[in-house]
Symmetry: C2
Subunit: 339 residues, 2 copies
DNA sequence: GACAAAATTGTAAGCGCTTACACTTTTGGC
DNA sequence: GCCAAAAGTGTAAGCGCTTACAATTTTGTC
């Protein structure tokens, strides 16, 4: 195949008999272009198979036609689902998806925030997935000027889609308490600097409060959203001497890990210990894991569409909204009455 | 925060007392720059916190500093793992990762190949993950001029990292046959147009051949790499009236789905049916799934590093190599002797 | 030292697009 | 029909970088 010269806006201009400038405006649907011109341009462009150069467009002050998706880790089930759903929506709107995984590492995370100004010239917007923000980071994000949208975040000055995490955790915990358990352990997300300040932890605590129970520090353990982290966390709990009759894991994968460790220690579920998670992972049904179901792909797709909207009308002022999707407790076989 | 003017190469040139051109060369480690100049440039650049503009660099014929990772689907465990591992390596080499999921859809897939020339101007290279190639697609890829590397592919004119799929499938099947099973069913990847021509299917068939057994078409079913696909595939098998005493699934997630359906139908594993997969997914241990373990993240990281090497020396001619990593049969509890 | 060759550095012309501004044409009110 | 306002179109100046090629300096040889 011969390396044919790339089709530029110039070619379109010549073929349509108009100036580059008019072509540029027509292509981007800007005002002040006659219908006739628009038509000619559209025809010429499609005939030539013209695709604007992202680099040139960007350099001249236009858009990069790409957005960054930032996730605490890309391997967890929840993130793989939301990323793919978001990627689809973005792709349909003509945006490339630049994946940035923080790999659950503080250093990577710091690097990301330090490089924001740099990021700002490579993408048009940012989609944050459950990225726990430290003080000042919201400001840094806003300051870099990129439109932002997020999944699973709180009190942020941009559009967010999520579930009511506190409520979901409350549902799970309340379920356990309703079954007569009062010696509970909790796996809390390790993504936040302060484990006991995540919304899910708060929901857990609130449920205990309502039953006049208090949280024992030894029953709280941090875990990432993975099976291995769940395993380790439960093992840690046991090492500490905690012998809860029920465990609430902040996500199903962590709950799977908990099940694994419990079995390794000869503790049977739900006979000795009840376990509940959040997510409704495809394996949860098979394993009989009781959980609080949440729509996952929907969150990614929804947040991506909100971001696209922002990207389309950068000018229009906009009141950021927080969209909460429903969660539902699904009782299965890993939870039962305390004997 | 004040929107300060971006630091350009011009600023570095002025501060270092050299010309833009020399700075450009020094920054890219090109020859014909004195050590002294290199030093001054490096110092000035770091003092100003200079980062080259990807757009300008690209437009002027330089690189985009980003590569595309293309996966048949981004949600499967294997791909989430390899993508993250590759993203890390690429990131460390200064490349952004553009994620492209084919979403297991023929239309998306076709679109991707049709848009290759377009892709070529947005990224510097492509990392293909188990993308089944139709005739002509290899040529299309080569023609677009982008350096390519891949994971899990065969007979391709670029660097590849993978396992010996045929052998892995043979290992799994041989294990089943060795246990006395002769009525086998197989879940084969649906990603290829011809299900019975995937390497894993060939390994399956070869093992049968060696035992003078033949493959019955009703015992072959297509499935994607997901639990749900595995469920459906096994259900389909049962609907067809197949009553195999052992099932080989092309990946662990599909095997999980098989387990699910079997239980729904009152068939117990391994009493009635033996099941074996490939992967060694973190859940497989817990579920007792017999499987052929493969290094997963390693493949993504390795392929990414090979691609980076290609990217560094585009000029140097290069003999593409196929790197095969080892696999290992892990016998657990879902396989046992046929009664 | 003189001079050619080699090494280093600078000049300037783009890369393909956006956009301020100038210019031309159309529209509409009287 | 006339004229100002509105609408449409074109000109040209960059955006920040790469890269021929020209200009300059350094090196090495006799």
């Amino acid at each position: 195949m011969v390396r044919t010269h790339r089709v530029t806006i110039q070619d379109v201009a010549v073929l349509s008999g108009l100036s580059i400038c008019t072509v540029s405006r027509a292509l981007r649907n800007l005002p002040n272009v006659s219908d006739k011109a628009r038509h000619q341009v559209a025809e010429a462009a499609s005939k030539l198979g013209y695709k604007p150069s992202a680099a040139a467009s960007r350099l001249a002050g236009g858009s990069t036609r790409s957005v960054a998706i930032v996730a605490p880790t890309a391997t967890a089930w929840f993130f793989a689902q939301t990323v793919e759903a978001a990627e689809e929506v973005l792709g349909d709107s003509g945006y490339d998806t630049v994946l940035i995984s923080l790999r659950n590492k503080a250093t990577v995370r710091r690097q990301f925030f330090a490089d924001l100004s740099n990021l700002a010239q490579r993408v048009d917007g940012v989609l944050l997935l459950n990225v726990g923000l430290a003080p000042g980071e919201v400001e840094a994000l806003v300051a870099c000027g990129l439109p932002v949208a997020s999944v699973g975040m709180r009190n942020v000055p941009w559009d967010n889609v999520g579930i009511d995490d506190e409520h979901a955790a409350w549902q799970a915990t309340q379920h356990l308490l309703g079954l007569g358990h009062w010696d509970l352990a909790v796996l809390s997300s390790n993504e936040h600097p302060v484990v006991t300040e995540t919304p899910r932890f708060r929901g857990f605590r609130r449920a205990l409060d309502e039953h006049h129970l208090t949280v024992h520090p030894d029953s709280v353990v941090a875990a990432g959203p993975s099976i291995d982290d769940g395993r380790r966390a439960m093992a840690e709990l046991i090492t500490r001497g905690a012998r809860p009759t029920a465990v609430f894991a902040h996500c199903d994968e962590a709950a799977f890990g908990v099940l694994t460790t419990l079995r390794e220690h000869g503790l049977s579920v739900p006979k000795h210990v009840s376990v509940v998670g959040i997510d409704d992972h495809p394996m949860s049904g098979f394993l009989g894991l009781s959980t609080v179901a949440q729509p996952v792909a929907d969150q990614g797709a929804f947040a991506a569409s909100l971001l696209c909207e922002r990207l389309l009308n950068t000018e229009t002022p906009h009141q950021p909204a927080n969209h909460l999707l429903d969660t539902k407790l699904i009782e299965r076989k890993t939870t039962r009455h305390k004997r």
